[in-house]
C-alpha cells in the first residue's frame, strides 16, 4: 500500500491508499461522528451519521476509501441537517430513563444528542411493547436499543459466534409525510431502524461462548452485564489499567473500581472494560475479575514458617500464573540459593521452542498473534483454540471475515463453535498422536518440494500414489429417434402415418477411469472426502498464510520432532508461525526461568501444592496477592511485555518480602522490571515508564515488544518420520477446560464459579447413555477419579474433557504429559 495525501477540513494528512476516510480522520485526531462503526469489523451503514463530503459528493466515511488528493469536508449545511434529523430520530421513543440507565455518562446516544444539540423533537411514531430479556450473564432491554447492530457485527466479524441477529420489529410504518419533509439519509436510517430488533439466534436466550463483547460495544444501555446492572454509575468508578492474566493473549483490560458499600470503604472491582475498538475480551477476562485474596494483616507467624520452609527446601514448584518479576525473583533465588525450579508446563514449552530454534534460528517464535488478524489463510493445529486462547479464535475468525480468508482447524476433538464460524473453515479431526502427520501434510500441501531437504521431500512422496478411480461424468449424447408422425400425403391428400428421424442431445452418465494422485496423508489425518476440492476453493486468491500451533504439541511425547516440523513449515512454506502458550505467562516463565526436571525432597509450592504452599487463592500456608492485587508485567502471545497494575490493595506478604528475607534486596516487586533486561529478549525498562493504552491510530502502546534474538543453527534439518500405529483410537479423555474457565482464579470469580465436571458432547452422552449429573469413574493408566457428567453444547465428538481449572481436583494426575489419555469411563 502506498502513502497518499488527503485533505480533511483544510488539513493535509498522510494516510494509506484504500484506508477508510473515518479511520484516516481518527488516526489524525479529526472528529467525524460515527455510531455503528467498529474499527476491526465491516461497516454496517446503520447510523449514517458519518456522512462527509468527499470531492463534492456525499459519502459515508465508514465505507469510503481514501484516494490520493481527496478533498473532504466533515460538515456542511446539508450534512448538519442530516445529523440533526438522525439524532432526533434516535431520540424518538427512547425511554427518558438516563437517571437509572447503566450507560448514562458513557452513553453515545447521550453524547451525540448533546453534541448535535437536540433541544426539540420533530418526529413521532407509536412505540411497540418490548419487554426486558434476561440472557444469563447479559441483560437486553430492547426499548433502549437503537439498532446500530454493533452487537451482531462484533459477534459475527470478530468473535465468530454469530449468536445475534435482527428480527422484525412489527411496529407501525413511518408516517408518509415524513418522507417528504425530512432529510433523505435520516429517513432511510429511520426506515431501517423501524423494521428490526435484536434477537438471539437460539430463541429466548443466548447460546454462545459468553464473551460479553456485545455488551462492551453497545453504545447505549440496551445490552448490559446482569451482574453490574444498577450497582454503580459509570462516573463513580475509577479506572485501573491492567492486563488480563487468565490466558496467554494478555488482553488490555481496565478494572473499574469503587468502594464496596457505604459501610465498607474497601475498594471493590465492579466490572472489567476493554478498549473494544482494538481488543476483544473473552468471558473469562470480562467476568472473572474478583479473584482477589483478601488478607486482613501480615501474618508474621506464617511468614516465619515460610522463611523456615525456604531455608529447608531445595525445590520451588510453581505454575505460570505469575508475573515476569516474580519469575525473575524465583530465578534469582535459584541462582543465589540453588533451588530447583519445577514448572513442567513452562519447561515443556521452553524445550519446544528450543527444538524449534535449532532449525528456525530464532530463540522464540517470531510472529505475534496479530499476524493472524492480517492473514487470509489460517491453520490451527494442536489446540482446542476456543478455550486455550479465545483471542486466537477471534483472530482466526476475523481473518476469515475481514480478509475474505479461509482456515483449517486440525484437532482430535470436534468443535461445534469452530465449525459454526462459517463455510470457509474446514475442521479435520485427526486421531491423537497423529499431529506429526498433520505437520507433514501441511509441508506436503504448501511447500515447494524442490527447496525441501531431500529426505523430507522423499518421505512426503512416499505417501503419494497414482490411483485409478472411476469417475461418473455426465456427457451429452446425440440420440437418433424414429418418431411416427401423421402427415398429409401430398399425392393422395390423405393423412397417413410416416416415420421421421429426429435427433436430440440427451445427457448421459458415463463411468470413466481416471488416473489421480492419491495422498495417503489425508486418509491418515482423517480428512473429509471433500478435502481436496474444498481446499482448491479455499486457497483461491490467498497470499498471507498464518499457522498457529498449540499446547497439545508441547506436551506431546514427540514434541521435539513436532517443533522441528513446525520450523520446517515456517522455513519452506509461506506460513508465519505463532505458538499459543498454554497459560497466562508461560512464555515469560519459559524465557526467564531456568527450569529443572526433577524435584528434590522438600518443596515449596507457589500456587501449586507443596510441602509448604504459598497461595493466592487463600488455601495455602502463606497468603500471596492475586494477580489483580499485584503490579508487574506479563509476557503475551503477541511477543509483548505488558504491564498490569494493582486494582485492589493487599495487606499481607508477597514473594518479594520472602526474597528480601532470603538475601535479595528490592523495595518493590516492580524494581525487578528493569532487571528483566538481563534476560535475552527483554528490555531494561522501569515499570513506571511502561505505557498501557491504544492510540487513536490503533497502535498498541502497551509495555514493549520482545526482541526475537537469533541463535546459531547447526544446519541439521532432519526430522523423524511419524508412527502411524501410534494413533490413539480407543476411548479416551482430553485435558481441556470448558469455555470461561482457565484456572482457580476464573473459577473463584462469583460470576463464573462452577463445579468441575466431566464435560461431554450431547452425542457422546446419548451414545453412552449418560445424562447430566450422572457420576462416572474415569480410569486411566495413571489413576482414577470420579466426576459428575455435564453435557456441554460447545464440544463435539466422542472425547470428553477432563477440566484442569480446579487445582483441588488435581485432574492432571490422570494424564501422562500428553493432553490425551486412554481412559475407561464407567457409570457409578
Amino acid at each position: 500500500m502506498s502513502e497518499i495525501t488527503i485533505t480533511i477540513d483544510g488539513r493535509e494528512i498522510k494516510t494509506e491508499e484504500g484506508e477508510l476516510i473515518l479511520n484516516a480522520a481518527r488516526a489524525n485526531d479529526i472528529f467525524i461522528p460515527a455510531i455503528c462503526y467498529l474499527t476491526r469489523c465491516s461497516p454496517t451503514l446503520a447510523c449514517r451519521i458519518c456522512l462527509v463530503e468527499a470531492d463534492g459528493k456525499q459519502v459515508y466515511a465508514c465505507n469510503s476509501k481514501s484516494k490520493d488528493g481527496m478533498q473532504i469536508t466533515t460538515s456542511t449545511e446539508t450534512i448538519e441537517a442530516e445529523r440533526r434529523a438522525i439524532m432526533e430520530v434516535y431520540d424518538v421513543n427512547h425511554p427518558l430513563e438516563c437517571g437509572v440507565c447503566d450507560q448514562s455518562g458513557e452513553c453515545e446516544l447521550q453524547n451525540y444528542t448533546l453534541e448535535v444539540g437536540i433541544d426539540a423533537q420533530s418526529y413521532a411514531i407509536k412505540d411497540t411493547f418490548k419487554p426486558v430479556q434476561n440472557w444469563g450473564l447479559i441483560n437486553y432491554d430492547p426499548a433502549l436499543c437503537i439498532m446500530c447492530e454493533r452487537c451482531t457485527t462484533v459477534c459475527k466479524d470478530m468473535i465468530g459466534d454469530g449468536a445475534l441477529s435482527t428480527k422484525p420489529r412489527n411496529g407501525d410504518t413511518i408516517d408518509e409525510t415524513f418522507k417528504e419533509s425530512m432529510p433523505k439519509d435520516a429517513y432511510a436510517m429511520w426506515n431501517k431502524l423501524n423494521k428490526s430488533l435484536i434477537q438471539p439466534n437460539a430463541g429466548d436466550t443466548l447460546d454462545c461462548t459468553d464473551c460479553g463483547e456485545c455488551t462492551a460495544v453497545c453504545p447505549v444501555g440496551a445490552l448490559v452485564s446482569s451482574d453490574f446492572q444498577y450497582t454503580s454509575n459509570a462516573w463513580e468508578l475509577s479506572q485501573v489499567p491492567a492486563t488480563c492474566s487468565h490466558c496467554s493473549a494478555g488482553c488490555q483490560i481496565q478494572y473499574d473500581v469503587k468502594h464496596a458499600t457505604i459501610d465498607n470503604p474497601e475498594p471493590k472491582i465492579y466490572r472489567v472494560k476493554n478498549e473494544w475498538n482494538y481488543v476483544s475480551l473473552c468471558g473469562a477476562g470480562r467476568y472473572g475479575y474478583d479473584f482477589e485474596n483478601r488478607v486482613e494483616a501480615k501474618d508474621e507467624a506464617a511468614f516465619a514458617n515460610a522463611i523456615e520452609a525456604f531455608e529447608k527446601a531445595d525445590t520451588i514448584t510453581f505454575d505460570s500464573q505469575i508475573t515476569n518479576e516474580e519469575a525473575l525473583i524465583l530465578q534469582k533465588l535459584k541462582e543465589s540459593r540453588g533451588y530447583r525450579l519445577i514448572n513442567d508446563e513452562a519447561r515443556k514449552f521452553a524445550e519446544f521452542m528450543k527444538a524449534y530454534s535449532a532449525i528456525s534460528g530464532t530463540a522464540t517464535y517470531k510472529t505475534p498473534l496479530k499476524a493472524v488478524n492480517g492473514a487470509n489463510f489460517v491453520i490451527s493445529v494442536g489446540s482446542s483454540i476456543k478455550t486455550d486462547n479465545p483471542n486466537a479464535r477471534f483472530a482466526m475468525n476475523n481473518a476469515m471475515i475481514m480478509n475474505k480468508g479461509a482456515a483449517l482447524y486440525f484437532h482430535p476433538v470436534a468443535d461445534p463453535v469452530v465449525d459454526d464460524m462459517g463455510k470457509n473453515i474446514l475442521s479435520v479431526n485427526h486421531a491423537p498422536m497423529q499431529e506429526e502427520a498433520v505437520m507433514y501434510l501441511i509441508l506436503d500441501l504448501f511447500s515447494k518440494k524442490e527447496a525441501l531437504p531431500a529426505d523430507v521431500a522423499e518421505y512426503l512422496t512416499s505417501f503419494h500414489s497414482m490411483k485409478t478411480i472411476t469417475v461418473t461424468e455426465t456427457i451429452k449424447e446425440k440420440v437418433v429417434e424414429i418418431v411416427k408422425e401423421m402427415k398429409v400425403n401430398e399425392e393422395t391428400g390423405e393423412e397417413e402415418e410416416v416415420e421421421v428421424e429426429k435427433s436430440k442431445m440427451v445427457p448421459k452418465k458415463v463411468d470413466k477411469d481416471v488416473e489421480v494422485d492419491e495422498n495417503r496423508l489425508l486418509e491418515i489425518v482423517n480428512a473429509p472426502k471433500t478435502f481436496e476440492t474444498a481446499m482448491e476453493k479455499m486457497l483461491a486468491k490467498k497470499d498471507r498464510f498464518a499457522l498457529m500451533v498449540g499446547p497439545d504439541f508441547y506436551s506431546h511425547p514427540n514434541a521435539a520432532n513436532l517443533a522441528r516440523l513446525v520450523a520446517l513449515v515456517e522455513k519452506y512454506t509461506d506460513f508465519s508461525v505463532t505458538m499459543i502458550p498454554e497459560k497466562g505467562n508461560t512464555l515469560g516463565v519459559a524465557m526467564i526461568c531456568d527450569l529443572d526436571t526433577e524435584a528434590g525432597s522438600s518443596t515449596i509450592g507457589y500456587n501449586v501444592k507443596g510441602d509448604f504452599t504459598l497461595s493466592a487463592t487463600g488455601n495455602g500456608d502463606l497468603d500471596m496477592p492475586a494477580m489483580n492485587q499485584q503490579e508487574g508485567t506479563l509476557t503475551s502471545i503477541q511477543l509483548r511485555v505488558n504491564p498490569t497494575n494493582a486494582a485492589l490493595g493487599y495487606k499481607g506478604y508477597e514473594l518479594n518480602d520472602i526474597a528480601n528475607a532470603l538475601g535479595l534486596n528490592a523495595k518493590l516487586t516492580v524494581d525487578y522490571t528493569v532487571k528483566l533486561g538481563e534476560i535475552d529478549g527483554f528490555k531494561s525498562e522501569n515499570f513506571d515508564d511502561l505505557p498501557n493504552h491504544y492510540t487513536n491510530k490503533g497502535e498498541e502502546m502497551r509495555g514493549y515488544e520482545l526482541t526475537v534474538n537469533e541463535v546459531v543453527t547447526s544446519g541439521d534439518e532432519s526430522v523423524a518420520p511419524f508412527d502411524e500405529a501410534a494413533a490413539m483410537d480407543e476411548a479416551m479423555v482430553y485435558r481441556g477446560n470448558p469455555t470461561l474457565q482457565f484456572n482457580d482464579f476464573t473459577n473463584k470469580s462469583h460470576q463464573l464459579n462452577e463445579t468441575a465436571a466431566l464435560y461431554v458432547s450431547s452425542d457422546y452422552a446419548i451414545a453412552n447413555e449418560l445424562s447430566e449429573g450422572d457420576t462416572v469413574l474415569v480410569e486411566t493408566t495413571k489413576g482414577s477419579m470420579e466426576f459428575n457428567v455435564k453435557i456441554d453444547s460447545k464440544i463435539g465428538g466422542d472425547i470428553p474433557f477432563v477440566p484442569s481449572f480446579d487445582s483441588n481436583l488435581n485432574s492432571e494426575a490422570l494424564f501422562n504429559d500428553y493432553r490425551f489419555s486412554n481412559a475407561t469411563i464407567k457409570k457409578v
Binding site: C98, G99, V100, S104, D119, A120, Q121, S122, Y123, A124, I125, K126, V132, D172, D175, Q229, Y230, T231, S232, N233, W235, E236, H259, T261, I262, D263
Partner: protein, 206 residues
C-alpha cells in the same frame, strides 16, 4: 477635589503618609489604672442601663424563647435534607440516579443501589455527611425527581464532626404521604412557575 493626576502618582511615599494621633502607651501602674477607668466608666453606660430597665418595666418582650420557640423558616431555606415520597401512592421518589452524589461539591453524599425484584433500580443505602455538607442546595436543584429537598430543620448538634444521616431518617413517613398530609414541595429545587410556557412540545403519534 481629587483629580486623576493624583491617582497617577504611584509614588505613595511622597507626602502620602501622615502620623495618626496616638497617645503614648502608659508605662507606670498609675497611668495604666487611669486609662482603664477613663475607658470603662463613661456616660453612655448609663444610657444602655436605662433602656434595659425601661423595656423590662414595659413587659413588651420580643425575644424568641429558643429552643422552646422557633421562628418560621422560609420555604426556600436550605437546611437538613428530606427525601420525598410520591403523593398518595407513597412510592419513594428517589430513583438512585446518583446526580446528587456527582454534583455534591463537598463530596458528602453516597448511595448504594441494586436491582430489585421488579428489575428496577433500588436505593439500598443513602447517607449525607452533615459534618461536611455546606447546604449549597445543588443536590436538591439537580434532582430530576424532586426527591431530595431541603427541609427546615437547621439544628445539627452532634458529638462528632462527621455526623451522618441515612435514607430512613430523611424519608417522609409512609403514612403521612399516603394520607396526603405532605403538600407538593414548593421550596428550593422545585420547578419554577410558568415552566409550561418555556417547554417545547413534542409531537405524539397516539
Amino acid at each position: 477635589m481629587m483629580s486623576l493626576k493624583e491617582f497617577e502618582n504611584r509614588n505613595v511615599s511622597e507626602g502620602a503618609y501622615y502620623k495618626v494621633d496616638i497617645p503614648d502607651y502608659p508605662e507606670t501602674g498609675w497611668e495604666k489604672a487611669k486609662q482603664v477607668f477613663s475607658r470603662a466608666i463613661k456616660g453612655e453606660l448609663f444610657v444602655g442601663l436605662y433602656i434595659v430597665m425601661r423595656e423590662m418595666i414595659k413587659f413588651d418582650i420580643h425575644t424568641v424563647q429558643y429552643p422552646k420557640e422557633k421562628l418560621p423558616i422560609g420555604p426556600r431555606y436550605r437546611a437538613v435534607h428530606e427525601m420525598q415520597r410520591l403523593w398518595e401512592s407513597g412510592t419513594e421518589r428517589c430513583i438512585g440516579c446518583g446526580l446528587c452524589e456527582k454534583i455534591c461539591i463537598s463530596d458528602c453524599i453516597r448511595m448504594d443501589t441494586k436491582i430489585d425484584e421488579q428489575s428496577r433500580k433500588q436505593v439500598t443505602e443513602y447517607t449525607i455527611n452533615l459534618g461536611r455538607c455546606i447546604f449549597c442546595g445543588y443536590c436538591a436543584e439537580v434532582c430530576p425527581e424532586l426527591a431530595i429537598v431541603h427541609g427546615g430543620r437547621y439544628e445539627n448538634t452532634s458529638e462528632q464532626r462527621a455526623h451522618y444521616i441515612g435514607y430512613e431518617d430523611m424519608l417522609t413517613p409512609f403514612d403521612m404521604a399516603v394520607k396526603g398530609q405532605v403538600a407538593e414541595y414548593p421550596g428550593f429545587g422545585a420547578i419554577t412557575p410558568h415552566e409550561d410556557e418555556r417547554v417545547k412540545s413534542t409531537p405524539l403519534a397516539y
